[in-house]
């Protein structure tokens, strides 16, 4: 059982506060660290990994300080976001070097390479690897000493869907084995597929924490705005406004469309096609107009 604890952690760079008074506990299983770009996720992961001192507060792993404590790396595996690795080495040489630095041998390296299914390309230079292959070799180097805590910074960036699925399976397995796995992402769907527990960070602040479904509900239950075009906008508007799932409808003459605010996401999405069918109205366009992650997050912060 490995628990990573952040206790009132803040970090600022000059006048800019990157992380603002965050307290969280990460336990065994897969945890997603979710937040838009620039929210402070990398700063947090760097503090968790001991590569950055908190300006205030403390980061501990099972009660031991992480910052300036080299011995802690016996228990931590890190997959950094940055691409640079020793490109002049082959995948195998790289993982073997990482094993040796942990006082282990080629056997541990071979096992880690097998875990990430990279044996087939292990004798090629890293410089020739695709993004996904690099990611997997990084993963092998982080797993070589069988760590109880795995930190991954944006591990799915630039991966194709197949590579993404493979890595997700691997992380899920790691979590099921009882390791504490934390990965950061700015993509809701990635986190949804992988983590049952999430920590949401927005603008350096800890916005939400807990079970993914509860937070997802919070996110989907917010007022949604839609832009709808149909064969008869006014008739559609009249029929929709009668239902409590909508709170406002505007006829946008310039756009030739309806701007609808829905307060009950689930009910509205079922209502719209039914109402259209019942009234013999054809729906031409239905598009959400505020689905950007930032708006989802800012709603979450306000909630």
């Amino acid at each position: 059982m490995t628990t990573l604890s952040l206790d009132h952690v803040s970090r600022w760079f000059g006048n800019v506060v990157a992380v603002n008074d965050i307290t969280m506990t990460i336990g065994p299983g897969v945890t997603g660290l979710l937040g838009p770009n620039g929210a402070g996720k990398s700063t947090l992961i760097n503090m968790m990994g001991g590569f950055l001192a908190p300006s205030t507060g403390s980061v501990t792993l099972d009660g031991r300080q992480v910052w300036r404590n080299e011995a802690i790396y016996k228990h931590i595996g890190i997959v950094p976001e940055r691409e640079a690795m020793y490109d002049f080495l082959t995948g195998r040489e790289f993982v073997v070097a990482n094993a040796e630095l942990h006082g282990l041998g080629a056997k541990a390296a071979q096992k880690a390479l097998a875990t990430v299914e990279m044996e087939y390309a292990q004798d090629r230079k890293i410089a020739t690897y695709s993004k996904g292959m690099r990611q997997r070799v990084k993963m092998a180097s982080a797993l070589v000493h069988d760590p109880s805590l795995l930190l991954l910074d944006e591990p799915f960036n630039g991966m194709d869907p197949r590579q993404r699925m493979q890595l997700m399976d691997l992380l899920r397995r790691m979590g099921d084995e009882g390791r504490t796995v934390l990965f950061s992402s700015h993509i809701l769907e990635e986190v949804e597929q992988l983590a049952w527990h999430i920590e949401v960070v927005v603008a350096g602040r800890h916005a939400a924490s807990g079970d993914f479904r509860r937070i997802r509900r919070l996110m989907t239950d917010r007022p949604h705005r839609y832009l709808v075009r149909s064969s008869d906008d006014r008739a559609l508007a009249a029929a929709l406004i009668a239902d409590p799932s909508t709170s406002g409808i505007e006829v946008d003459l310039a756009e030739g469309a309806l701007r609808i605010q829905a307060v009950d996401f689930g009910r509205f999405t079922a209502l719209l096609p039914r109402v259209a069918r019942d009234h013999g109205i054809r729906l031409l366009t239905v598009s959400p107009s505020d689905e950007s992650l930032e708006s989802v997050f800012s709603y979450l912060v306000a909630a």
Binding site: F13, G14, V16, A18, G38, G40, S42, T43, N46, G49, G50, F51, L52, A53, R68, E70, A71, I72, Y73, K74, I76, G77, I78, P80, R82, A84, M85, Y86, F88, L89, A97, N98, E100, L101, H102, G103, S141
Partner: protein, 239 residues
């Protein structure tokens, strides 16, 4: 204190890239010039001393030192790959000490060895000149490697600062401002060379005792401080 894996990675990084070409070019230039000088002017002790002092010790050794010293750690810090060393249960001073050994070895091989060869070509080690300058190159390799390794740890512009130090401070100020010579690795190593050669072909502005103390002090302090800087190295930039 010494980690063979860190050493292997450092050697391969130093000798595998374009750096190896630059490292090899200067020694070849020195040996080439020596061959030409010997062919044209014959064996002459004064010429040998001037060329080894002016080209080898004052220019080549510090430049090789800059390339090897900063190159042993600077690029890894710049591109972030140093994270793979730092995320290991490995004492930071061990990383620095190992990289220092590698930087010293590379600087010695690419500067002291060619100095010896050039010296033998120039006057066949008459008056011990070749050996004396080789010893000076060996000694200054240690101090330069330590200084420039520290520079590579603290600055992203280590190569520029290193070259400015090597060329402006050591070469220019050293010849114009007498006081600056006291604080010059080159002069310290010349004091050692003076002792080896005897005679009056080689002279230094610094006494042997002062030179030895300063050489050791600079090497030890630079290495210690680089270890401290690496312990507190921050990898994350501003987001």
């Amino acid at each position: 204190m010494y980690d063979p894996t860190v050493a292997r990675l450092t050697y391969r990084a130093l000798l595998g890239r374009r750096r190896a070409l630059i490292l090899g070019a200067l020694p070849l230039l020195l040996i080439g010039i020596s061959l030409v000088v010997r062919a044209l002017a014959g064996a002459d002790d004064q010429t040998a001393s001037d060329l080894l002092g002016g080209l080898a010790l004052a220019t080549m050794v510090p430049i090789i030192g800059v390339i090897a010293g900063t190159g042993a750690i600077g690029p890894e810090i710049d591109d972030g790959s140093v994270v793979y060393l730092l995320s290991k249960p490995l004492k930071r001073p061990t990383i620095i000490f190992t990289k220092l050994i590698v930087a010293i070895a590379v600087t010695m091989v690419f500067s002291a060895l060619p100095t010896l060869i050039a010296g033998f070509i120039l006057n066949g080690n008459g008056q011990q000149i070749a050996v004396a300058y080789t010893v000076a190159a060996l000694v200054s390799s240690i101090a330069y490697a330590a200084l420039f390794l520290l520079l590579g740890t603290v600055s992203r512009h280590a190569v520029v600062f290193g070259l400015v130090y090597a060329l402006v401070w050591e070469a220019l100020f050293g010849s114009l401002v007498p006081g600056a010579r006291t604080l010059s690795v080159q002069q310290w190593s010349l004091a050692v060379a003076d002792k080896v050669a005897g005679g009056d072909m080689i002279s230094s502005d610094v006494g042997l005792t002062t030179a030895t103390v300063l050489l050791i002090a600079v090497t030890v302090l630079a290495t210690w401080y680089a270890g401290q800087k690496l312990r507190a190295l921050t990898l994350a930039g501003e987001e």
